[in-house]
């Protein structure tokens, strides 16, 4: 009986430790053996809806193996969502025997993973890489850690904007192209759409823990950063609490959900709601507008997860406005992913060479087009093929001027969850915006400590 019990109740904990124990068995990091053969282990994400990177990696493997005889590139795609991919990667990095040589890394994890000692400093390699000059300055900063060194090279970036269905807006008598100048303009549009056809969802924004980072990246931060407030003061390195902007942002979400301009709270809390946005509501004309990433066309284009022939005619992009139209007029958020080299790699030179191959002009162009990414290489951005990839490239690229990045500290994931909880409490009516903001403030104080908090 004991073994049965122990096995069951230990399932979770075992997962942590099994990685450590198996480490001794499945050692497969780069190991130059007697014959001089070297194997590079490459880890990245691949899902049914995200195969663009896999295609690039397959190409890079062929190119690299042809140029370097005696080197085998071992591609190990991980099939998981963003959260689980990050966990799996971090578990592999905990032991030098399982750590990959080159891997796909989220920009907002770079700083804390550098603190953890998982990433190799690339400065000396980048200096000798002629392509490095082709990367835009903002892109170079994406892989910079607190010590000023560069630890990761971006594949592409993204921005966020309002995506709206022109046909639905026109049916409600709203002139297109439509560009709201303030939050009130958004509400005015949404109310008009609702009055014209009550079966249409006028303007939804993600909220709650179900959609995870989507809730903050494609909803709350667009609101918060448009109020003049901020989440984290970069100069003082402190988290902001008690700001009016935070309460106002929650109040705006409350208005959307209370007036039924957004989806129902139950739908919002379903982790799969974004699939309905892309796969059902927009194509079927049941949704007028929402905030989504510049990568939206990657779902609709031929070969995408939710192919939709009419998206180029029906859809349009508008910048998300600031609260009252104050400077700079619009808000956007950027994330994006990078490639990095493992700190414990036995073949740092070869690993960097592979990274450089995967990020060369040809591969970067293919990746940016197939995954609807905003180019970070100036030579790719100037390519006719890139600009013609979809009709929205120009609009979403222009938002790079006003875009913001997440404060990528080690505390960030918990703070982000606290924000998600606040939005969830408000849209479900459990708390008023003031109460939810007060609870967020209390949570932040508890998480980071009084000395890292900035009272507004």
């Amino acid at each position: 009986m004991r073994p049965v019990k122990t096995m069951r109740s230990m399932k979770i904990v075992a997962a942590i430790a099994v990685a450590a124990i198996l480490a001794g068995v499945t050692s497969c990091s780069s190991t130059p053996d007697a014959a001089g053969k070297t194997t590079l282990k490459i880890v990245y994400q691949k899902t049914d809806a995200f195969t663009a990177l896999d295609a690039v990696m397959q190409d890079a493997k062929k190119e690299f193996e042809a140029a370097n005889s005696g080197v085998t590139v071992d591609l190990q795609p991980i099939q998981a969502n963003d959260d689980d991919y990050g966990t799996k990667l971090a578990l592999a990095q905990r032991s030098p025997d399982t750590a990959p040589d080159v891997f796909y890394e989220d920009t907002f994890k770079v700083r804390s993973d550098v603190d953890a000692g998982y990433l190799l400093k690339l400065d000396s390699y980048l200096g000798k890489w002629e392509d490095w000059a082709k990367f835009s300055e903002a892109a170079k900063a994406a892989g910079r850690a607190d010590d000023g060194g560069i630890y990761a090279v971006p594949l592409g970036t993204d921005t966020r904007a309002i995506w709206y269905n022109k046909a639905v807006l026109q049916k409600a008598g709203i002139a297109v192209p439509w560009q709201p100048e303030s939050w009130d303009d958004i509400l005015a549009m949404a109310r008009k759409v609702k009055a014209a056809d009550s079966t249409v969802i006028p303007f939804t924004m993600y909220a709650g823990k179900g959609t995870g980072e989507g809730t903050v990246m494609q909803s709350f931060y667009e609101l918060l950063y448009g109020t003049g407030s901020t989440l984290y003061d970069e100069d003082q390195r402190k988290w902001v609490v008690g700001s009016q902007g935070f309460t106002d942002s929650l109040a705006f979400l409350k208005t959307l959900y209370d007036e039924k301009l957004a989806v129902s709270p139950a739908e919002a809390l379903d982790a799969n709601v974004w699939k309905k946005v892309f796969g059902e509501w927009f194509p079927q004309g049941k949704l007028a507008a929402t905030v989504e990433g510049s990568y939206a066309p990657s779902f609709w284009k031929k070969g995408g997860a939710y192919e939709w022939a009419g998206y180029e005619q029906d859809m349009a992009v508008a910048a998300f406005p600031t609260q009252k139209g104050q400077e700079p007029g619009s808000v956007s958020m950027s994330g994006g992913w990078t490639l990095a080299v493992g700190a414990g790699t036995k073949s740092p030179d070869l690993s960097f060479q592979f990274l450089a191959t995967a990020l060369n002009k040809k591969n970067a162009l293919a990746y940016d087009i197939n995954n609807s990414q905003i180019a970070v290489r100036t030579d790719v951005a100037a390519e006719a093929g890139y600009l013609a990839a979809n009709p929205f490239v120009k609009d979403v690229s222009a938002l790079v001027d006003v875009t913001r990045y997440r404060p990528a500290t080690a505390d960030y994931p918990r703070i982000s969850t606290a924000v998600q909880v606040a939005t969830e409490s408000v849209i479900t009516g459990r708390q008023s915006p003031q109460e939810a903001a007060a609870e967020y403030d209390a949570t932040v104080r508890k998480l980071v400590g009084e000395d890292k908090v900035l009272q507004r």
């Binding site: 049965v4 230990m10 942590i16 099994v18 994890k109 000692g117 998982y118």
Partner: protein
Amino acid sequence: MKIRRLSRLLPVAPAILLLLVFLLAPVAWSFYASFTDAALTGKAAREPQWVGAENYVRMFTDDAFPMATWLTVVFVAASAVLGQNLLGLLIALLMTRSRKTVSDWVGTAVVAAWVLPEIVAAFAAYAYFNRDGTLNQILAALGTHGLDWLYSFPLVAIILANTWRGTAFSMLVYRAALGNVPRDVSEAALMDGARGWQRLTFITLPLIRNSIATNLMLITLQTLAVFTLIWVMTAGGPANASTTLPVLAYQEAFKFGDIGYGTAVASVLILLGMVFGAVYVWLLRERRA
């Protein structure tokens, strides 16, 4: 003599070794990690520091922990001790009186849920309770409106799903136990004029009490550790309304990368399992005396 006794252990030595390496070692490691600030990323990932009982102290200031403990107890009590246990006993009792074809069909239907891999059963339950799921379609066909069960009553949905999935085990245990109840005792009671429920409470149940205790112990420990079912159906939400201790441990350790706190929660879970186990063992001994 001593050598002979030792040599008898030889065939089980590999099994013991495997248990030590794969079960005891992770438990010991997790217990150790619960006293550090081990993390998946950040500085603490490189040099975990000994923080003493800080993680355990934090549990009592963290709102999520007491709630998760309470939800875990409710979940175990409702879906295992009451749901699976009583339903399993009831079905087993009815099967002893029913015709063979009926009991065969019922047995197959109940066991079908049990033989499914946990992840498949979890998806089936999700598809059943989902907003557009089977239950609401049935209700719509009957002319009534369904609810969003996983949103409005997440714990109830999960309790029902776990009862559905686990009842077969109790049923099998009780069928075997009832098969061993000597008929003559029951018949003698019948001759003495005992009614049906009297025969059940005074004859049958006392005779199978060891099976009851064993069954309770096994299903309690299994239910304490249920993770996949909850993760697939609600992922602990909405607003932590179905976050039991295993889900909390997973979220802390892997979503927030706080392995120290996550393993502390897991350690409490082991402790809770031991308490339940000890209570059942004690009950078992008590009755025998």
